[in-house]
Every structure is written in C-alpha cells, then in structure tokens.
Subunit: 273 residues, 2 copies
Amino acid sequence: MNAASSPEEAVRIASVNVNGIRAAYKRGMQQWLDGRGVDILCLQEVRAPDAVVRSLLGENWHIHHAEAEAKGRAGVLIASRQEPVAVRTGIGDSYFDTAGRWVEMDLEIRGSALTVVSAYVHSGEVGTQKQDDKYRFLDALGERLAALRDGAGHAVVLGDLNVGHTQRDIRNWKGNVKKAGFLPEERAYFDRFLSDGSGFVDVARSLAGDVDGPYTWWSWRGQAFDNDTGWRIDYQLATQDLAARAVSADVDRAPSWDTRFSDHAPLVVDYRI
Amino acid sequence: MNAASSPEEAVRIASVNVNGIRAAYKRGMQQWLDGRGVDILCLQEVRAPDAVVRSLLGENWHIHHAEAEAKGRAGVLIASRQEPVAVRTGIGDSYFDTAGRWVEMDLEIRGSALTVVSAYVHSGEVGTQKQDDKYRFLDALGERLAALRDGAGHAVVLGDLNVGHTQRDIRNWKGNVKKAGFLPEERAYFDRFLSDGSGFVDVARSLAGDVDGPYTWWSWRGQAFDNDTGWRIDYQLATQDLAARAVSADVDRAPSWDTRFSDHAPLVVDYRI
DNA sequence: CATGGTAAG
DNA sequence: CTTATCATG
C-alpha cells in the first residue's frame, strides 16, 4: 500500500467494486480507506440504500450516488473530498437511467476542469438478454467517451467495465474466449475505446507495460485468489493529457484471502494536476 | 444434561425443532447428540434435502423423513436406532400430504407396540391463511389422537405444536393473548387434546408439576434467551399408560446464547418400557 | 463462493 | 434475529 496521502499537486482517484458496501465494511474496507489518502473515491456495486451508504462513508465526503431501481442491485457512486462543480446520472441512453451503472462528477482541480465517471458495465451472460444489454451499454459508453474526448477538460472513465481487453488481462484467457468478459466482440469495443484517435488511454496498462495483469478481480471460489487466477476488468480510462499526468497506478491486492473486503481489488491512480 | 445413555429398560425419545439441520450442525448439534444417548430422535423444521440429512446424521439410524414440497421449508423426521415395524407420512388430511409436518413410526420395544409421531404444527399468523391452515391441521391432529388412543399399543405424539397451552407455558402470557400461539381458540384445542378421556398426557407438564415453564423456545431477537423469555410449545403427548412410564422429561436448555444450536431446545423423555 | 432481498419463523 | 432459497455476479 502507498503513502497515506497523495503527493503535493496530485489527486488520488480510487476505483473499487465493493460487491456490497455493507459487507465490504464488515470485512475492513474502512481500514483500507483510512490508510490510503484518497481524494476521489469511486465505487461500483454499492448495493445499499443511500442512507446506509452515507452513514458508512461518514460526513467528510461530497457524495453522488445512483442507486438501481432494483433494491440491492448494482449502484455506483463518486465521493469527493472537494465540492463538485456539477454531477450527472445516466450514460445518455435512457434505457439505463435507473440501472445504477453510471454517474459523473465535474470538479475543478487547481484551475483545471476534470470530469470523473464511475461506471459499472453489465457482467453479461452469453445467449441472454444480459449480453444484449451489455452491448447496448458499451455502445452508449463509446458515444460518451467520444463526447468527453471532444470536451474541454480532463476526463477519466473508471470502474468495473467487466471486459478483459487483451490476453495479458486474464490469467486463463484460452479457457475464456467463449465466456462473457472475454468475447471477441466485447474485446473489439475496447480496441475501439483505446485506439489511436479515441483520445483515451488505459492508465494501468500504460504504466505497467506489456506484462500479465495486474488483475483486479478474482472469483471467491476455490483458490482463484491465492493462485492469482484473476481478471483485469477494472480500469481507469483517462483522456490523453490526463493519462500523461498519471504518476502511479496501483492495484491494492489484499495480503491474504481473509483480508479481502471484496472480490475486486481497488485500482488507485495518482494524477499530477 | 443427563447420562450418556438411557437407563436399562428405558427408551429415550428426543424431540427437537432444529430450525435447519445444516445450521444446527454448524452450531454443534452433533456434540449434543453424541453426549445424549438418544434411542429415537424426532426432528422438526429439518429444512434440507433428504440426502443432506442422511449424510449429517450418519449411518447408524433408521430414518423416516418427510420433506415439504417447498424446498427449504418445514420437514420432519424420526430417526430410530432400532429398525421400525412400519412408517407412515401424513396426518390423514391429504391437504397436508406434502407439507412436511407429520411422520409416524411403529416400533416394537421389548414386546410392546409403540407408535411415535414427529409433528410440526404451523406457526400461524392471525388473520391470514396460515391461521386457517393451523386450525385445519389441529383438527386433523385431534382426530389422529383419538385413533391412536383407540389403538392397541403405546403412542407418543411429539414435536413443535406451536401453541402454549396454559399461562404457565409462556413467560409473557398477558402480552400474547392476541398472538398466534396463545390464542384462546388454539389453547382450547389443547384443553381437548389433554382432557380427561382424551387418553393423552402432556408428559413434561405432568412431571414438572404446576410451575412456570420449562420453556422450549426463545426468539433469537434481543435478550429473550438470556432473560428466559420463552414459550413451552414443544411437547411429548403420550397415551396414559405410556405417560405413566415416563421417568424423566428434560429440556436441554443450552448453557449460553452462543452454544444454542437452534431457537428451540430439545425435549428429552425416558420411558420405562 | 459471495452478495442482498425475500418469505418464513 | 435466524433460516433457506433466489437471482446475480
């Protein structure tokens, strides 16, 4: 784990799929947060009513939270130490307006405009409506990326995007080419999202280089965590100028199975703004 | 807790609402059973598939188990160390044939015929269908008691009958006169079941005498267990001759909250047959 | 293998 | 406050 506060002139942004914030807090998420000096905390799969979320996170945040219509499902939020300029809910396709999968926050950081998006893409399941919904959501995500790229300020779209982009992003890629999360059609979306000219950079991959992982999700089942049989499906996709200002990207993999507070690990990036 | 095996020439019959046999085993039911020398074990609210039940109880029982049609609900069984002469499922009213609330086992104990019934009466809820079902089940129970009384051998109808008979059977009877489990109409059934001429005796009451309790159920909530705010709703109703042969009736109240394996305590009776 | 909601107790 | 099931991940 890194220093307890972000470096001078840097903003620390963390993305975590908490898989139920109540369970995560029971398992020690607060201790992680206390030691991490996060400026902007972005969560996915919050799975709790707003009042519960606010009482868990405490008073010292400006929270923008979008619950799903279905109780106990999905839910995304952005919690900022600094007051936001604006907040929005919804990816632009009204079909997803009550899905609890997309929130945006505009901030002004030392004179620079920054838009942060916390996103939770569908898990999907081949041959079901869920997979259709996932593609439709990814379509909308592509459109929103283009609009953000064409905007004035910095932007970072982060969260659980539920797709492994390349063979380096999944431990057992050969066994998963027909599974939701590593389908060729899903991966092609990410080829487009991250192509030259897309205006966006996969910050963790850019800083880690051409290596396997680092993974951000491991099944609870079996020995997946202990064997590091994981998937890199949590991302921070930053506009080019912002990505160039990223000085570190860390996956806070827990030291052991029983110290995990979620099946996902936090992805923490420091941006020098 | 009593001696580890039943006295010579006595048969030890235990009744327990386990509130889910899997949870009960996790909480240490096996240790209770190991130390108790039970000859005939009668369970209610088993709430598990037959294969799971048999693997938990092990090989050394003759088990007659009636699951409910609805998975994870109700379920009663009788497990005997000795091979039964016959087994039956169902109280006689076919409406309850798949309810998982009534099983019978005929045994021959040193030349005497003994019928054991494990019963799980509905909890009921005032003003709902559940209360109607409870009364209908109690009607059938009354008819079956009469038939057993008129039969040749000994009989004991035991289990979670979900009614407190008298003011001595509920800690807070005044607060519960309008609650299912202590309604005048429900209590009147027990007046009839246990009247002179009914042929049946409430063994635990008969041996305990005119005292408060001993209770057999305490809500999981609050301090009900620690304060002994309980209900006596688990019974062994024995035919007169058999009841006269009961030498002890013990409620195995756990020493502390966290050593309970169910919200009900076992009711263990030794019959000198 | 975990999450939360649910019906039931 | 606990049980098991359920849909979801």
